[in-house]
């Protein structure tokens, strides 16, 4: 019984860690907009925790470059399982317009495994919330496969 309550709770309490990997701040503003009274993601138990050790979902915006790919990997490794990664915006997904720049590695998935890609330049808050919901479904699936 308690096991099923834990399973149910996972989807009801996704704590989010937001990492700006080299974004123009457009997507970051949209991520933070989700927390405002207009979108109020706390309705779904979503909290922006700012600490990888407490987080369930990692939101990454912007391109990865050679300087910050280690930071991204480090943050990902510090998150306890089960966890999900969501790449936000054109840059996070593929590198966007910066994909050919000499210092850019590319999208987030070049460094860490990504569960959900949220497109847009910048991504809309509705799309980000939707991405988190899909991400939760994915990590519920991952947990079941692991069991």
């Amino acid at each position: 019984m308690f096991g099923s309550f834990i399973k149910k709770s996972r989807a009801k309490s996704p704590w989010i860690m937001h990492f700006d990997c080299g974004s123009c701040n457009g997507c970051d503003i949209e991520v933070l907009a989700c927390l405002t009274p207009l979108y109020d993601v706390e309705r779904f138990g979503i909290i922006n925790v700012g600490n990888p050790k407490h987080a369930d979902v990692l939101l990454v915006t912007g391109t990865v470059n050679h300087r910050n790919k280690k930071v991204l990997k480090n943050i990902y490794d510090q998150m306890p399982e089960p966890k999900a990664v969501i790449a936000i915006g054109a840059c996070g997904n593929t590198g966007g317009v910066f994909r050919d720049a000499y210092n850019v590695v590319g999208g987030i998935d070049k460094v860490i495994p990504v569960d959900v890609y949220v497109p847009g330049c910048p991504a809309k808050p509705e799309a980000i919330i939707d991405g988190v919901v899909v991400g939760l479904g994915k990590f519920a699936q991952k947990v079941e496969e692991a069991e």
């Binding site: 834990i6 399973k7 709770s9 996972r10 706390e42 779904f44 138990g45 050790k53 306890p80």
Partner: protein, 282 residues
């Protein structure tokens, strides 16, 4: 036998009440900010989720410290429900509070370290106030036992109004609310991340959270003792106090530990001492 039943009621009711209070608190806070807010049960979902996460620790000390903090908080609530001795309750909860700090100190993270130092300052501020409240109860009832309070004809509040105000400081600090929320901020994306709680994660963070519920119930229980003669007035007093607590939390900025020490020691302890002199002389 009755005592044992009371202890069990305390141990079970503690987290249930504490979790509901925390959920209600977030709901009312959301209402203040014209948001809808999370469901009332949210705190239980959070803790259940944390219990199901991977165990990740910086060192073995954290496991011990989280458990001791939880056990001390639970025992102090159990003792409170069993009508135990106020001084024993005080020391047991103080041990728990110190272990929380030790767990945070055992990790090298600067956020955890600074948070631990600030938590120590908070302990330094509220513990004397708590002990002065207990001394006040002793002066009124002639005993440190909680059962002596229930035998009073007149509520404690009539004799210890200033001590109740001082207890309000201790309550605010223990609930980790603004303006005294500098050891662990409610929102983690701020200057100190989560302060003392930064390095606790997964199931151990859940233990700390449950212990926090127990502590909330303990301090609210102490507030309830101030109107022990009538259940309705007791409920009204608790509701009023907690509503004021939420209002203060939402209207105040976070202050520094120096500001806290000045306010709590000068005003809080000043009021307590005046009240104690009045009780002693009167």
């Amino acid at each position: 036998m009755d005592t044992l039943i009371l202890v069990i009621i305390g141990l079970v009711a503690g987290p249930v009440i504490g979790g509901l209070v925390a959920g209600l608190d977030r709901r009312v806070t959301a209402w203040f900010q014209s948001r809808q807010g999370p469901p009332i049960m949210q705190s239980f979902y959070d803790v259940a989720k944390l219990l199901g996460k991977e165990k990740m620790v910086v060192n073995q000390w954290q496991i011990l410290c989280a458990w001791v903090y939880l056990i001390a908080a639970a025992v102090s609530v159990g003792l409170f429900f069993a009508q135990g001795d106020l001084l024993v309750i005080f020391f047991v909860q103080a041990v728990g509070a110190v272990f929380l700090v030790m767990g945070a100190m055992s990790a090298k993270s600067p956020f955890s370290q600074v948070g631990a130092q600030r938590e120590l300052m908070q302990i330094l501020a509220y513990e004397p106030v708590l002990i002065l409240v207990f001394v006040g109860i002793y002066l009124v009832t002639g005993s440190f036992s909680i059962s002596a309070v229930w035998e009073l004809e007149q509520p404690l509040l009539a004799k210890m109004p200033l001590l109740y105000l001082a207890l309000g400081y201790a309550l605010t600090i223990k609930l980790r609310k603004s303006p005294f929320d500098f050891s662990t901020s409610h929102h983690g994306h701020q200057e100190l991340v989560k302060g003392v709680l930064t390095e606790y994660s997964g199931p151990y963070l859940a233990l700390v959270e449950i212990a926090h519920w127990y502590e909330t119930v303990l301090i609210l229980g102490l507030c309830a003792l101030f109107w022990s003669t009538n259940v309705f007035w007791m409920a009204a007093l608790l509701l009023g106090t907690y509503a004021l607590e939420i209002l203060v939390d939402n209207t105040m900025a976070r202050m520094t530990w120096r500001w806290m020490l000045k306010r709590v020691w000068l005003l809080g302890m000043g009021m307590s001492v005046v009240n104690l002199i009045w009780l002693y002389a009167g």
